[in-house]
Symmetry: C2
Subunit: 386 residues, 2 copies
Amino acid sequence: MRDVCVVGVGMSKWGEVWRKSIRQLFVDAATNAIKNSGVDHLDSLYVGCMSGGLFVGQEHLGAMMADYLGMPGLPAMRVESACASGGMALRSAFMEIAAGVSDIVMAGGVEKMTDCAGDDATFALATAADQEYEVFHGATFPGLYAMIAHAHMARYGTTRDMLSAVSVKNHHNGSMNPVAQYPFEVTMEGVANSVMVADPLHILDCSPITDGAAAVIVTTEEIATKLGKPYIKVTGTGCGTDFIALAQREDMTAIKASKLAAEQALKMAGKTIKDVQFAEMHDCFTIAELVISESIGIFEPGKAGPAALAGETALDGKFPINSSGGLKSKGHPVGATGIAQIVEIYKQLTGQAENGRQIPGSPKVGMAQNMGGSGASSVVHILEVA
Amino acid sequence: MRDVCVVGVGMSKWGEVWRKSIRQLFVDAATNAIKNSGVDHLDSLYVGCMSGGLFVGQEHLGAMMADYLGMPGLPAMRVESACASGGMALRSAFMEIAAGVSDIVMAGGVEKMTDCAGDDATFALATAADQEYEVFHGATFPGLYAMIAHAHMARYGTTRDMLSAVSVKNHHNGSMNPVAQYPFEVTMEGVANSVMVADPLHILDCSPITDGAAAVIVTTEEIATKLGKPYIKVTGTGCGTDFIALAQREDMTAIKASKLAAEQALKMAGKTIKDVQFAEMHDCFTIAELVISESIGIFEPGKAGPAALAGETALDGKFPINSSGGLKSKGHPVGATGIAQIVEIYKQLTGQAENGRQIPGSPKVGMAQNMGGSGASSVVHILEVA
């Protein structure tokens, strides 16, 4: 298997972007990544997108984005695993480089969500849950994650303040991220007093609905070296799934799919979780960040909440989580999120994180954890300095 | 790069299947493929599906199908390239085996289309075209392919009878396929007098709306040999794209994406088109089979129609096309079609085609050509006897 590197990254500005279509958002991010990497062509393209069909009435995004990038002819396909679609795009690019089929592959992600307002966006997102056994009966994701939160609180004594601490930290980090949708600070009181969405989750526990795209250039170490630009290595990829309906899971207070994905990725990288120094995590709701960091072994079960409250996951903490601002502050255009995580880890490992967001101590090993639905699928990557 | 083989195949019965959900259709095909191959586990799953979201309100089909196969935990993702989604699933499985990341991968495809009746199905399919530049202005696929047909007729003198000959041949072949949706013969007069859909295309020039699934087991030659079941080799994979909107293409009478994909696949296999002995082709409309077989070099431009009329593409012709019955007779559950093509080629190369459908002379090299939209994406595989 050939070594796989990331040599350039790009983002569109995230937010409620009325003046750009899904194709323009993607092209913005993709051209930024191409310029950033210095590559003069692509061999192949993967586009992560959850539901172009339901959000904007457009499927077939692989071919469309190749076309609108000015590269008709380019091998291209879309990959989807709900909100883990971006991470799956990197995984697919990894396979193609590792197999030796292609040398320069773009892994991108995009979602245009705000065109599809109100109930329609909630329905579109809910198609990541089990339509027959969950959605039909009224379940949506805030409700499902609220159940996870209640179960975690009941079992481990997780508190309102612990959830709020995640939001406060991520908004602090996001306030330094130039592409973030909500780049402002929030307070513990502000989170606790924000409008209730699904008890115990308030609006400031929830990631927003976002328009945005992200892209990275994946290549061999030989080409990365020749380009003369900073690059990092993708040393492990892992993917796991679980029962799609939350009610069927072995344990509602853990994300088994992420546990499996992290184990595979670490094994491939020849590392243990103790070797990982920071992570981007799928904080679609504040409770998710706590549950995930326990599931993949960063904290013991029930200890992530106290750690968040104690600042252990802050930029200058023992294990920084979501230096980018996470889904909470940066935004969550669902198909783009997994790639944006890679963008942030690339910036951190190459010392390019903007506006004082750089993690101290020059970390060498980062993890990207991306997941779909209420945790029915997950993809994890280990990234290291070259 | 490791050798890649197909060691077992499975289909669901195709048609208007009211009593089975999308998950049950997929599980039917997948369990048939598992039984057929003799594997005792899977390492990974790819599900080709064009629009679970628009057809049945269900995305996240990778995780869902792993779950409903009784394998929660299994790495899984969905891939999409409109009607080429199935072929892309095989391509993805190929990469994963070739890279050495996994040893036994299922590539499957599924679409449940008839739940979404009338205008809704037409809208769902049209999301494979350019929503802003084609669909918004009223274009749908019968109309786009009708334009291709008119252009081909004007340039090359292609006739009504030549189009009808494709339908007659494919229905004849499909009449011997036990899973076909429409396993009956049609006549030249029957096609020409069937109801008009979009001039010059009549209803018997068009592939139907279908519920169905297909799955194949992809593995290494070492494992295929150990299983002791018939297997074939995937010696080439290729993928191409083109402008998504038909009006922007260089030439409406050719499918450049398929030309590019075929060239790549043949190059990887170390073959030329003259080494290929038969093919499954994406006859979503009769005109498509003619245009494709010219685009990939089986016939000179303008010669595919006369060849079809002369019986050269029949089962006992010089170059049999769509021995399965093709999309026309077998049906076209869009995400499953590309995998069903592999199922047919597997059967032909291992001498297992049912009911007298076996191509004479024990062919050794077959090609599967699958495409999306009006030809904006295409994926081609070369398959050979082991």
